[in-house]
Symmetry: none
Subunit: 536 residues, 2 copies
């Protein structure tokens, strides 16, 4: 059976950036583009060249991708030619092979927001698309407010689509810009557009989540014949977000009637990276991943109800619509029951810790994890701290060294040039092999900048560990994440530290306290202990 | 025109409690039931009497509501009569006028999970429903796995529904228990069930969000003729959650074709409480509200894109599908480097700062915001810091006081009981009205717990500000958010502090530095300056 090809168009770097609180750096945009490319989307919309320095810089050094990196912009304004419009010129200057321009398809917006005639607007769209095509670019039109426009004035909305098509646009993307059109209406209107002569294989769909129907709206358009889907990773985007490709991709690949009927550029193998890609994006944004996100959320395959959990043990398909491994996710069964223990044993075995099925230490470890998670710890993203906790419970963690005390000072004052400067200083006292060692470090880096108290503490702690010193000399702190979370009744700070050594090993540890310096210190201690354990 | 009545069935207190990490207390269940009742849902499923002490206690002292408080349970087990099943007896003993029992409608589950014959299962369901009816209760059947069951064996799935109907069930609820059925299929199957003779006004729909289609699935069933919708507040529920009533209610009341065609027990007046109810539930659960939630999220009407923001200023309907006030939410035009001057002027005007359209200060302020956002600041969520920045640029910010220096010490050491304890101490030196003032505070709270260096600093800073002291006496720090972000080439810490005063004002300020204590200090300073400005 031949499957129809659907095209996936990602706009995380453009519409996704409209999420309140999201501001990508150029380097982050590059990392995200690479992640998208490993998934296998067809287009990556990189931003609006000329609109801000970050977007321009991204196109100046865009990564090499299989996907078509696409520049976004708007159609030329009235009163000048496409070739003489400086905003459009900046978009063209990004030099991408594909360019997507937004143009209005709703008469009300043309007259009210742009203040031009309908004919002028159609003309602006047509000549802008012609300009792209004459410069050898693949042209896409984002038909803004298409659905609202079609409901108000179907003739004009269709005229805009036809003008772009006749001018040579490869894709006309029907945008539900305000997110208010419900799926059934999106399906009906898309079918009417195709019946009016715009071929489905030239039509895209762009939906927003204002009624929680962005995914359903995109699917309804595909059902009606549209062949390109626009969306973002994790559903980032203006207001309530765009259609989530993180949800749409597995639905298209795994669920019927889509899996049998269509194909995309995403392979089943690449799909197994989906959960990781989703969480990596949240890492980059330092957002707390949504536990309940479809397919990729940490709770997406968590079976809390007792009846569900016991049936899952007999056969996972009783309460799972897909195998979580297909999207790189994992089943979670409450730690309290028997299944929790076999889960734990598997996780320990993965860390090279073999425990017999009925070892009482298993229950002890589960209890400790439960208790500490209630205090605000998380062991999902701090595997090294989890291993240390387990080894401590099993009595197999050596006492490498003991911390007797520490003291950190943070000071801000005027320097001799009458400028305010800050400096931190840390003193750590440890006992190694019966010998007491005092170390002191300050927070100044090589460039003379103050890196703060945790930096000073980290340096002091790693300064002199006696015979263990060589093992930690090549260790460095590569990431530091801080979250305020709830520990019992009080807000506490959770610090997760990522460390790296010279062999490229990378490990994560966690510390929790109402005192951020204390939480950081505990995570640092775990990081060093884990490293010493590897070398022991 | 007569509207058809749709029935809303809330299961926040039962299926919502299956959310990972959610564990209601009896008092919380009572508060939530009261919130649901002010909204106007028809049924409130309170839990499973007998399954756990909390649920039993809730029914013992259930609040008086307009809505029908409903007990949940399962149909009787094989090998005993309904009257002699102790699990069912516990459900009946809750004494509710309505009882909802779950029974399996999928042959695979009957045989695989229950290990009984199909005929026995049908018989268990029929006699359980008969038992409820004979005891004078309104009976509902949650037909578990109905859609998967219908796809595998439509005859048996329908047999279960008919048996319940014939036994006197008021409602047969078609459950997509595993959340894997897509909306189009839910619509088709619901229509087939009605065509097979089960009347639509006896049918309910219960969907889950495993493909992000719970809301769309519920709407598809209503389109096909089902007349009861089950869901939860904020979409709580097992795995990815249930259909969100927080989304479905405004969709049914405000969006076509639903608003014209149907009515519910929720009035337009009650709808204005929706955002408050949603946030109150998050408060009870101690969850961070989802900014991007449809209708009720803080970002649901936030217009970040420059083009959108300027059109919104002309006419809000250009980029809003409904008026946010209808659901008790509010429009936000965030500051960001994508915002234009008109956006900025509007934002300033809202803060009581009038600036002429072509004032050169506007460009200066935008430049400063751009520059600081590149350093890692964000003004989207720190309105008070934005106002201070603007006033500084306009030369209208008084110098209330000057910080000469500060010093914070964080120490961890053994106390006299040989236990490790931490304590922080902060010294702040300020100059007010030419007078130098030294203040010192430590981080211990009333309970003797260490709250860390930022707490100590905050207390020292607010300890003695001379003639400004009375203005800040009722100020308190209510939230503290920390993110590691990119400032230029270096990772920096961004701290956002939420403060509150005795009049219930709440404001947010931001600080950025590689040094977390410095970043916090700057955010604290802004918080105090903003407060002094209000009282000046």
């Amino acid at each position: 059976m031949t499957r129809t090809r659907l095209t996936l168009y990602d706009t995380t770097l453009r519409d996704g950036q409209q999420t309140q609180g999201v501001q990508f750096s150029t380097a982050e945009k590059q990392r995200i583009a690479e992640m998208l490319d490993t998934l296998g989307v067809d287009y990556i919309e990189g931003g609006w060249p000329g609109a801000n320095p970050t977007d321009s810089a991204f196109f100046d050094a865009a990564p090499r991708t299989r996907a078509t990196i696409t520049a976004f912009g708007m159609t030329k304004r009235a009163g000048r030619s496409a070739a003489n419009d400086d905003v459009l010129a900046a978009v063209m200057n990004a030099g991408t092979s594909a360019v997507c321009l937004v143009g209005k398809a709703h008469d009300f917006h043309v007259e009210r927001a742009l203040g031009i005639t309908l004919a002028e607007n159609t003309q602006n769209i047509a000549s802008s698309i012609q300009h792209l095509v004459s410069e050898g670019r693949e042209a896409l039109l984002d038909a803004e407010h298409f659905f609202d426009g079609y409901k108000a004035n179907p003739g004009y909305a269709l005229e805009v689509c036809r003008a772009a098509l006749d001018a040579g646009a490869r894709w006309i993307v029907l945008c539900d810009t305000n997110g208010g059109t419900l799926p059934a209406e999106i399906g009906r209107i898309t079918a009417e557009v195709i019946a009016a002569g715009i071929p489905g294989d030239r039509l895209g769909i762009h939906t927003h989540n204002d009624t929680e129907n962005a995914v359903a709206g995109a699917l309804a358009a595909v059902d009606a014949g549209a062949r390109q889907i626009q969306g973002t990773l994790n559903g980032l985007g203006e207001r309530c977000g765009n259609a989530s490709l993180t949800t749409l991709i597995p639905t298209l690949l795994l669920k019927e009637p889509y899996a049998n009927r269509y194909e995309t550029g995403v392979t089943l193998e690449a799909l197994q990276n989906l959960s990781r890609v989703s969480r990596k994006l949240d890492d980059i944004l330092n957002r707390v991943p949504q536990r309940q996100a479809a397919y990729v959320g940490a709770s997406a395959f968590a079976h809390k109800a007792g009846l569900h959990a016991s049936a899952i043990l007999k056969d996972p398909s009783t309460y799972e619509h897909i195998d979580p491994a297909l999207v790189g996710n994992a089943r979670i069964i409450p730690m309290s029951n028997q299944a929790g223990q076999s889960n734990l044993r598997r996780r320990l075995a993965e860390a090279g810790i073999e425990v017999a099925p009925n070892d009482p230490a298993l229950a002890l470890i589960l209890d400790q994890i439960k208790e500490r998670e209630a205090e605000g710890y998380t062991y999902d993203s701090a595997q090294a701290s989890f291993e240390l906790l387990a080894r401590r419970a099993l009595g197999t963690l050596p006492d490498f060294f003991e911390v007797k005390r520490y003291k950190v000072t943070v000071e801000r004052r005027k320097n001799k040039h009458d400028r305010m400067v800050s400096l931190s200083e840390a003193v750590v006292v440890v006992k190694v092999d019966g010998e007491k060692k005092l170390s002191v470090s300050e927070s100044m880096d090589d460039t003379g900048s103050d890196r703060g108290p945790v930096n000073a503490l980290s340096k002091a702690l790693a300064k002199d560990l006696g015979r263990y010193q060589s093992a930690i000399d090549d260790m460095r702190l590569v990431d530091f994440k801080v979250r305020i979370t709830q520990g019992g009744t009080e807000a506490v700070t959770r610090v997760i530290i990522d460390s790296e050594d010279g062999q490229g090993n990378r490990w994560s540890t966690v510390g929790v306290s109402a005192n951020i310096v204390d939480a950081s210190f505990d995570a640092l201690l775990d990081a060093i202990n884990w490293k010493l354990l590897q070398d022991a």
